[in-house]
C-alpha cells in the first residue's frame, strides 16, 4: 500500500502555501500521509495527473472535466469543499439592468477564458436564456492569469472595473468573489448592483488518478474528513481555503459544467 499520497496544487498565490502545509501537518502520522507538489498552472497539473506523476490533483471544475474526459471517466473524485457545491455566477451592472435579457445589445465584461465562474458558465447560462453571447451581447474579455482557471480573481476585478469605467454594461463574477469584494470594501457603495444569479454548479474537487489503489484513496479521504471547524487548528486552514467542511463528492453539479466546457470546445486536456 502506498503510504504517501502525492498531491498536486496550483500555487496561484503565496497564501496557498500555508494552507497546504497545514493540511500536510494534519496528515502527519496518519495511515496514509501526504505531500504536495506545486504547479504554476492547471494544464501542467492535469498532465502530471494523467501521467501518473501525482496521485491526486486539487482541481478546478474545468481541470476535472478535462481529467474525466481524458481518462474516460475512470478518474475518481475523492472529496470537495462544502462551498464547491451550489457555486453561482452573478451579473453585476450599474443599476439600469434588471435581468439577463436586458443585456441584449449591450456589452458584458468576462474574466479569464478558462475561468468557469467568470467566463465559461455565464456564457453557457446566457445561451440557455436565449441570448447568443458574442452576437446578441458584445463580450469584453479580460484574459489575465490564463492557466490558473480564475483562481486569482484578478480577471473578475478587471471586469468589475470595466463596468465602473463605463466600458461594459455588466460583468460576470463568481458569487463568492463578489462577496469577497463587498466584504473587503473593494466595491464603491451604491454604484454597482447584481441583477442576475446563475443556476448552481460545482466548483473544485480532489481528483485521483485512475490507478490510485482504492484503499489508499479511502484512507486519505477519511483522514481529510476528520478536519473540523470546531478544532481551532483546523479552522484556521478551513477558513483560508474557504470552506467549513470537506464533503463526499456530489457529482450532479458538474453536469452543466461538462455541457458548457464541451459546447465551448474546451474539453481537451492537451
Amino acid at each position: 500500500m502506498t503510504d504517501r499520497v502525492l498531491l498536486g496544487a496550483v500555487a496561484y498565490d503565496a497564501k496557498v502555501i500555508p494552507i497546504w502545509e497545514g493540511i500536510i501537518d494534519h496528515f502527519r502520522g496518519a495511515l496514509v500521509e501526504m505531500d504536495v507538489v506545486w504547479f504554476s498552472n492547471y494544464p501542467a497539473q492535469v498532465r502530471a495527473l494523467l501521467d501518473g506523476w501525482i496521485d491526486v490533483g486539487w482541481n478546478t471544475n474545468l481541470a476535472y472535466v478535462r481529467v474525466h474526459r481524458a481518462t474516460d471517466g475512470r478518474a475518481r473524485v475523492l472529496a470537495m469543499r462544502d462551498t464547491d457545491v451550489g457555486f453561482r455566477t452573478l451579473l453585476v451592472g450599474r443599476g439600469e439592468l434588471e435581468g439577463a435579457n436586458d443585456l441584449r445589445g449591450r456589452t458584458l465584461a468576462l474574466g479569464s477564458a478558462d475561468s468557469a465562474q467568470a467566463a465559461i458558465m455565464p456564457v453557457h447560462y446566457l445561451g440557455r436564456e436565449g441570448l447568443s453571447p458574442g452576437s446578441d451581447v458584445a463580450l469584453l474579455r479580460f484574459d489575465t492569469d490564463v492557466g490558473k482557471h480564475g483562481d486569482t480573481g484578478r480577471s473578475e476585478r478587471e471586469a468589475v472595473a470595466a463596468v465602473l469605467r463605463g466600458e461594459a454594461d455588466a460583468a460576470a463574477v463568481g458569487a463568492a468573489s463578489w462577496d469577497v469584494f463587498v466584504r473587503g470594501g473593494d466595491v464603491p457603495p451604491g454604484r454597482l448592483r447584481p441583477f442576475w444569479t446563475s443556476p448552481p454548479y460545482n466548483h473544485c474537487n480532489f481528483t485521483a488518478r485512475p490507478t490510485l489503489p482504492a484503499e489508499v484513496a479511502t484512507a486519505w479521504s477519511a483522514r481529510l474528513f476528520e478536519m473540523e471547524w470546531a478544532n481551532p487548528q483546523h479552522r484556521r486552514i478551513l477558513q483560508l481555503e474557504g470552506l467549513r467542511e470537506w464533503i463526499a463528492p456530489e457529482l450532479d453539479g458538474y453536469r452543466d459544467v461538462f455541457d458548457a466546457v464541451i459546447d465551448q470546445g474546451m474539453a481537451d486536456a492537451s
Binding site: 463578489w178 462577496d179 469577497v180 463587498v182 466584504r183 464603491p188 444569479t197 478544532n231 484556521r236
Partner: protein, 423 residues
C-alpha cells in the same frame, strides 16, 4: 403569506431600507446577528433587489443560513438564521452592565475587580495572549510563551495599592529637582558624591533590567503585577537619570565602577525564576538600598543630593513592599519554598565568593561623605557611621526575613550571605 405566518417568530427584525451589502448592510447584519443566539432568526426587510443575488453568498461566507425570502409588497423579507460555525469562535459572551464603585477621588485600581475582569486566575491560559483579563477570547490561538502562569509565583495581595501609590508618586528628575541650588563643594566631598551617584546608578540599571526582563514572561491576567513592575522599571529609569545628572551637575563627573559591583549585579540579571529574582533584588537588595539611601540623605552635603535620594527611597520602599508581600504569598502557598529562596541566596553567594568584601571606592566615598572632610577626627566619625550603616543594613534584613517567617538563625545566615555590594 405575511412574514409572521412563516413558522417560528424571528428573534430580531431589521429594516434594511434600500441598503445593499457594499453600502453598509454587512455591518448592520453583523451587529444584528451577533446579538442572537446560535439558531435564532433575524428578519431582514429590504427594498433593494440586489440582495436576492448577494445574500446567499454572504450567508455562506459568514456561516449563517438564509432560511427563505418572501415578497412583502415592494419589499422582500429575508430570514437569516445565525449559524453555529461563524467566522469567529467564542465560547462565551462578554460581560455587559458591570458597575464598579468609585472612590471620592476617582476609580481606584483596587476597585476594578468586577465581573469577568475581576476573576484573577490561579492558573492562567497562555493561549489568551494579550487579551485583557475578562475579555472573551476566540478559541484557537497559539499559546504565548509565558513562563509565569501560576498566580502563586507572582502575586502580592497589596499589588493594586502599591500600583496606585506608584502612579501617584511619579516625579520629574529634570524639573522637580532644584538643580540650580547646587553650590561648589570641596573637591573630595564632591568626588565622594559623584562616586556614590555612579554606584547608585549602576545598581539601578540592575533594578531596571531585572523586572523588565521578567515582564514578558508573566501572563497578562496577573495585570496588577505587570502594571506595578512597569512602574518599577520607570522608577528605576528616573533614578538612573537623577543619579547620573547629580554626578554631572556640579563640576564632578561619573566615577568608577568595580568588578565586584559588576559581578554582583550580573548574578541578579541571570536569575531565571521570578520569585527568586524578586527575593534577591527587592527583599534583600532594594531592602538594603533603603538604608543606603537614608545614609546618603542624612550626610548629603547639599540639598539637591538629599532631595534626590529621599525621593528615590520613597520609590524603592514600594519595590521592597512588593517583594516582601510577594515572598509572603509565595511562601504562604508552600512553606517548603523557604528552602528554595535560601538556596538561591547560597548559590549567589557561592558565585560571588571571589568577589567578596566591600567595594573600596564606595566604602571610601561613604566614609568621606559621612565625615564631610579629611581631618582625622572627621574620618574617625565617618568610619564609625559607615560601620553602623552595615550593622543597620544587616539588622533590617534579618527583621524583614523573620517577618517573612524565616527562623532567626536562617535569617541571620541569609543576611550574612547577602552581597557586600548592597544590591
Amino acid at each position: 403569506m405575511r412574514p409572521s405566518e412563516r413558522g417560528e417568530d424571528p428573534a430580531a427584525r431589521f429594516d434594511g431600507e434600500d441598503l445593499d451589502l457594499a453600502s453598509g448592510l454587512v455591518f448592520a447584519l453583523d451587529v444584528c446577528l451577533s446579538d442572537l443566539q446560535v439558531g435564532e432568526v433575524l428578519e431582514l426587510s429590504s427594498s433593494n433587489p440586489a440582495l436576492a443575488h448577494e445574500l446567499p453568498a454572504w450567508c455562506r461566507g459568514t456561516g449563517h443560513e438564509l432560511v427563505d425570502a418572501e415578497p412583502d409588497g415592494p419589499r422582500t423579507v429575508y430570514r437569516i438564521r445565525r449559524g453555529e460555525r461563524g467566522a469567529l469562535m467564542f465560547r462565551d459572551r462578554p460581560d455587559w452592565g458591570v458597575t464598579p464603585t468609585f472612590r471620592h477621588d476617582g476609580f481606584d485600581t483596587r476597585d476594578w475587580l468586577v465581573g469577568k475582569a475581576g476573576e484573577i486566575p490561579d492558573r492562567a491560559d497562555p493561549a489568551t495572549g494579550f487579551a485583557p483579563r475578562g475579555a472573551v477570547v476566540e478559541s484557537g490561538s497559539e499559546p504565548f510563551p509565558y513562563t509565569v502562569t501560576e498566580r502563586d509565583r507572582v502575586w502580592a495581595h497589596n499589588v493594586a495599592s502599591l500600583y496606585e501609590l506608584a502612579t501617584e508618586g511619579q516625579w520629574d528628575a529634570s524639573k522637580d529637582i532644584r538643580w540650580r541650588d547646587l553650590r561648589p563643594l570641596p573637591t573630595h566631598v564632591e568626588r565622594a558624591v559623584c562616586q556614590i551617584m555612579t554606584h547608585l546608578a549602576e545598581n539601578e540599571y540592575a533594578a531596571l533590567y531585572v523586572p523588565a526582563r521578567f515582564i514578558p514572561t508573566i501572563h497578562p491576567h496577573f495585570t496588577e503585577v505587570v502594571l506595578f513592575l512597569s512602574t518599577q522599571v520607570v522608577d528605576e529609569a528616573r533614578h538612573i537619570e537623577a543619579f547620573t545628572k547629580r554626578a554631572l551637575a556640579n563640576g564632578g563627573g561619573v566615577q568608577f565602577s568595580t568588578a565586584l559591583t559588576q559581578t554582583s549585579l550580573r548574578s541578579l540579571l541571570e536569575q531565571e525564576d521570578f520569585s527568586q529574582a524578586s527575593f534577591l533584588l527587592s527583599v534583600l537588595g532594594e531592602g538594603t538600598f533603603l538604608e543606603y539611601l537614608a545614609f546618603v540623605e542624612r550626610f548629603a552635603p547639599d540639598p539637591v543630593t538629599a532631595d534626590i535620594v529621599r525621593r528615590a527611597r520613597i520609590d524603592e520602599a514600594r519595590h521592597v513592599a512588593f517583594g516582601v508581600e510577594h515572598a509572603r504569598h509565595y511562601l504562604g502557598a508552600d512553606p517548603d519554598r523557604a528552602q528554595i529562596l535560601h538556596d538561591a541566596v547560597e548559590r549567589r553567594a557561592a558565585f560571588l565568593a571571589d568577589a567578596s568584601g566591600a567595594s573600596p571606592h564606595v566604602e571610601e566615598a561613604l566614609v568621606l561623605l559621612a565625615a564631610g572632610g579629611v581631618s582625622a577626627t572627621r574620618i574617625r566619625e565617618g568610619t564609625v557611621a559607615v560601620r553602623q550603616l552595615h550593622d543597620t543594613m544587616h539588622r533590617r534584613r534579618v527583621r524583614r526575613l523573620t517577618q517573612l517567617g524565616f527562623p532567626a538563625g536562617t535569617a541571620e545566615a541569609i543576611s550574612e550571605l547577602h552581597t557586600s555590594n548592597f544590591m
